[in-house]
């Protein structure tokens, strides 16, 4: 990075560290922080959408649809995350390739399953075998977002399902008495009021999601925990210009600080959101706000 970094072994501490912390691997480490933040920024709204859809289905009056919603919630919540991540992603990837294979390579005469191998024609590969590495990484990242969204969507669906039922019954009856249709009651009365009941559960989920990112490496996406372990490991002078003993403790300490700061910021933001949502609600919190204002 800097001009004085050509021979790190003769530098004193301060310069040594400024060189060490700006090597290519460290840049990848810093990038992985952005990667994790981006993943959270994309996954959270998608998971919430999945959750909302799941909850809506679960309380549908059309019984088979309600079964689908409840089945989704029960199944995904029951399967351990790590099993889900190993099995589901490979299955999803193969499913996509299988469909592309059927569509693009009709003249293929070999079986797709050969023993334990999964073989599709070159044109059906996702992404294509000769695509650049960043395309592969983006694809892996997309799979990760989707899988996270399904897993956390199921939990969110359960939370939202409960929250929808927590809205006081008289509110809905009043809406009906005013002549609102079922749909109008749902969107105008139920949904605006349910968030205050859902938020504690959702904020819990958000905290868990923040810390679930190490599962990313199972999908080939290198997250901060992977890099901390890789960079912190003992480095012998034969393989690096910056040898050092086992520094994993320091790297993980840095991660600890990052996670604590991040959860703290989240807590503050969620608290403010909670205050905003409580306003005018028929809950103890809403009542307290009204008294304080009066």
């Amino acid at each position: 990075m800097f001009s004085f970094c050509t021979d790190p072994s003769i530098l004193d501490d301060w310069f040594w560290f400024s060189c060490y912390l700006t090597t290519g691997v460290h840049m990848s480490f810093y990038m992985s922080f952005l990667k994790v933040l981006l993943l959270l920024a994309v996954t959270a709204p998608v998971a919430l959408a999945f959750g909302f859809g799941g909850a809506m289905m679960a309380r549908a009056r059309f019984v088979p649809l309600s079964w689908v919603g409840k089945g989704y919630i029960a199944l995904v919540r029951g399967v351990p995350d790590i099993a889900f991540f190993l099995f589901f992603v490979i299955a999803l990837d193969q499913g996509i390739e299988y469909l592309r294979h059927k569509a693009l390579c009709s003249d293929w005469d070999m079986p797709i399953r050969q023993g334990s191998d999964f073989v599709v024609c070159q044109a059906a590969k996702m992404p294509l075998g000769n695509a650049a590495q960043w395309v592969h990484e983006t694809y892996g990242f997309g799979l990760a977002v989707f899988t996270f969204a399904i897993v956390f969507g199921a939990f969110a669906a359960n939370v939202l399902f409960g929250a929808m039922r927590a809205v006081p019954r008289p509110q809905l009856e009043t809406a009906e008495a005013y002549g609102m249709s079922h749909r109008q009651t749902f969107w105008r009365v139920l949904v605006p009021q349910m968030w205050v009941y859902a938020l504690p559960g959702l904020s819990n989920l958000w905290m868990v999601l923040i810390k679930a990112t190490p599962l990313l490496f199972l999908l080939g996406v290198e997250d901060i925990v992977y890099w901390a372990r890789e960079l912190g490991g003992t480095k012998t002078p034969r393989f690096t210009d910056y040898p050092h003993p086992d520094w994993r403790m320091w790297y993980f300490l840095a991660l600890l600080v990052f996670y604590l700061l991040f959860t703290r910021v989240s807590e503050v933001a969620l608290d403010r959101l909670m205050k905003r949502l409580t306003r005018g609600q028929a809950t103890t919190g809403g009542e307290a706000q009204r008294r304080a204002g009066a």
Partner: protein, 245 residues
């Protein structure tokens, strides 16, 4: 006679087509990136090591375009058979269990000695606690030896377990342990005898990828014959390392 001619022509034609297909595509090479000197991540953040240099040379000789991909050791074989990359060069020993799932080229590293490293001379490697990396031949050997096995996901952690006293000894490829023992300044030492395990280290490919396997196999033979593989072995593993005749 005519039939034989025809068959030969058909064979060479399919072989030619297979070659053409192989030329058009990028071969994705899977590795772990955590096992120096076989493979590791260098200061610039790229895959480096013996297998990187060898793999690049093999691809150059076979006129293939290759690209390196990092993958966790635990899921390295599932991701190969499901087609996320096309081969594995990750210090993987050739064993019968693995042969049931993947195909191997001939070895590019002779059958390796594995060794025990401990923090003291008198460490109990037969009845004590020995660390090893998950899903390696060394871990399997420890499990059979009567010692208590503790497994770790990465090689680094298996050595750390000895340093902090969690394990009495670590059992791993000797080549991985040699630089660590040398750099430890007397803190770590080899104990017991070396144990020869496995059939050497080879490149793993999908069993259905016969042509690609033959291509790499041929190039490895070529490099063994002209001595360039031996030079590479000496460069990465020292002058005393086992080489090919």
């Amino acid at each position: 006679m005519k039939k034989i001619l025809l068959a030969t022509a058909a064979l060479s034609l399919t072989a030619g087509m297979a070659m053409a297909e192989a030329h058009g595509k990028t071969i994705r090479m899977g590795t772990e990136g955590a096992y120096p000197p076989y493979n590791f991540i260098n200061d610039a953040g790229e895959v480096d090591g013996f297998e990187r240099e060898l793999g690049d040379e093999l691809c150059k000789r076979a006129e293939l375009t290759c690209e390196w991909v990092k993958n966790d050791w635990d899921s390295i074989i599932p991701n190969l058979v499901s087609g996320n990359y096309d081969n594995i060069m990750a210090g993987m020993s050739i064993t019968d269990e693995r042969r049931e799932v993947v195909a191997f080229t001939q070895n590019y590293y002779p059958p390796t000695a594995s060794a025990y490293v401990a923090a003291s001379e008198g460490a109990d490697i037969e009845g004590g606690v020995v660390s090893g990396q998950t899903a390696t031949i060394q871990a399997a050997h420890v499990a059979e030896s009567g010692a208590t096995l503790i497994e770790f996901a990465t090689p680094e952690e298996t050595v750390a377990a000895v340093r902090n006293g969690e394990a009495d000894a670590v059992f791993a490829d000797k080549d991985y342990l040699v630089p660590i023992v040398e750099e430890s300044g007397g803190e770590l030492m080899f104990v017991g005898d070396d144990v020869p395990l496995g059939d050497g280290i080879g490149m793993a490919l999908r069993q259905s990828d016969g042509e690609l396997r033959d291509t790499f196999d041929a190039v490895i033979t070529e490099m063994k014959e002209d001595g360039s593989l031996n030079e590479m072995l000496k460069k990465w593993f020292g002058e005393d390392t086992t080489t090919y005749e």
